[in-house]
Symmetry: C2
Subunit: 201 residues, 2 copies
């Protein structure tokens, strides 16, 4: 029977490795045989944990979301709502990407680009995670606005779009051109963007 503590630990080790592979080679490039060999178990043994490749992919997305929440979202909640939390959120994201928590950079950047033009449950799961994150950033921006730290006419969705654009492009450029400078570019852009919208200039 599934669900025993031992199984859960094994499952979590499998999924953490799956997310690492997928960040580099995509969720289609992640093959059950390769993952099994990597982990030193039989292919059918590993297969039994998930039942299909699609279920493995979906479980990997959920596992990566948990890492993302732990690395980026949770530590920002220790900062009180307001501009400080927005800044912290951005810095956490850039650090998560730059430290290569996943070896291929942000897991969701890779998987969103892979599935953005195909239908299916994996795409739906990735899109839902992306929407959660976008809304979370927009909410943090709106909190700062309501607290009077950002101008009253600030559009939270628009500002969230711009901040996320800088972060994701830093991830993309740093990977493709092996250029850590991209993170400083993003930090500069985010600083300027928030300063412009700030009431405390």
């Amino acid at each position: 029977m599934a669900g025993r503590p031992r199984d859960e630990r094994t499952r979590s080790v499998i999924l953490r490795r799956a997310a690492d592979i997928a960040s580099q080679d995509g969720l289609e490039g992640l093959s059950i045989g390769r993952l099994a060999t990597d982990l030193g178990v039989s292919k059918s043994g590993l297969f039994g944990y998930f039942g299909s490749k699609e279920e493995l992919q979906l479980a990997t997305v959920r596992a990566a979301a948990a890492v993302y929440v732990e690395e980026v979202v949770q530590p920002a909640l220790t900062v009180p709502p307001g501009l400080g939390r927005v800044r912290r959120l951005c810095e956490n994201w850039l650090s998560y990407s730059q430290r290569r928590v996943f070896p291929g950079g942000c897991f969701f950047f890779a998987v969103n680009a892979e599935f953005d033009a195909r239908p299916g449950r994996v795409r739906d799961a990735a899109a839902a995670a992306s929407l959660d994150w976008t809304r979370f950033v927009a909410r943090a921006v709106d909190d700062a606005r309501q607290l009077g730290e950002l101008a009253g006419d600030t559009d939270p969705d628009q500002l969230a779009f711009e901040l996320i654009a800088f972060m994701e492009t830093a991830n993309a450029v740093s990977l493709l051109h092996d250029d850590p400078n991209a993170y400083e570019r993003a930090r500069t852009a985010i600083r300027r963007c928030l300063d412009t919208a700030s009431t405390n200039r």
Copy 2:
């Protein structure tokens, strides 16, 4: 013998279709057998045009770059250097993405994300094309600066990074969430960004 007019036309039809597939399913998801079936030719016949999958991938990148130049770069050269050309470049890019010149959105966004964490000739070709584009945008920005239409202390590389971030994120968001609003977000951000750097406020 290769290189006859007939062959060149066939080759170009093959590569245009290859780029369409790759924009949706990636250059690894592009299989020789599937491409051959799609085009109604034999797999080995098609294979003969390229000699290996990697050569097909590289030829596809070159073909997509030609489309990109024709759709985005060339029509911007009809506008004289300066802020107008920068705006035109951005608008051409957004239109190229929004019109789905490639059905999976910007070919290079998809392929760059697919290969950004793997070594090889395909990655190198994608990175080179990306660098060409980034430099072209930065050059257009610097022209506008030297013409006095952008502030003298404008950093062309920084501004190019920001403009490209808005464009690529519009592409990504519009695909993943089927949300054409993302393009208006990018247009708003680009307008504000250029207005802020402009000397004609």
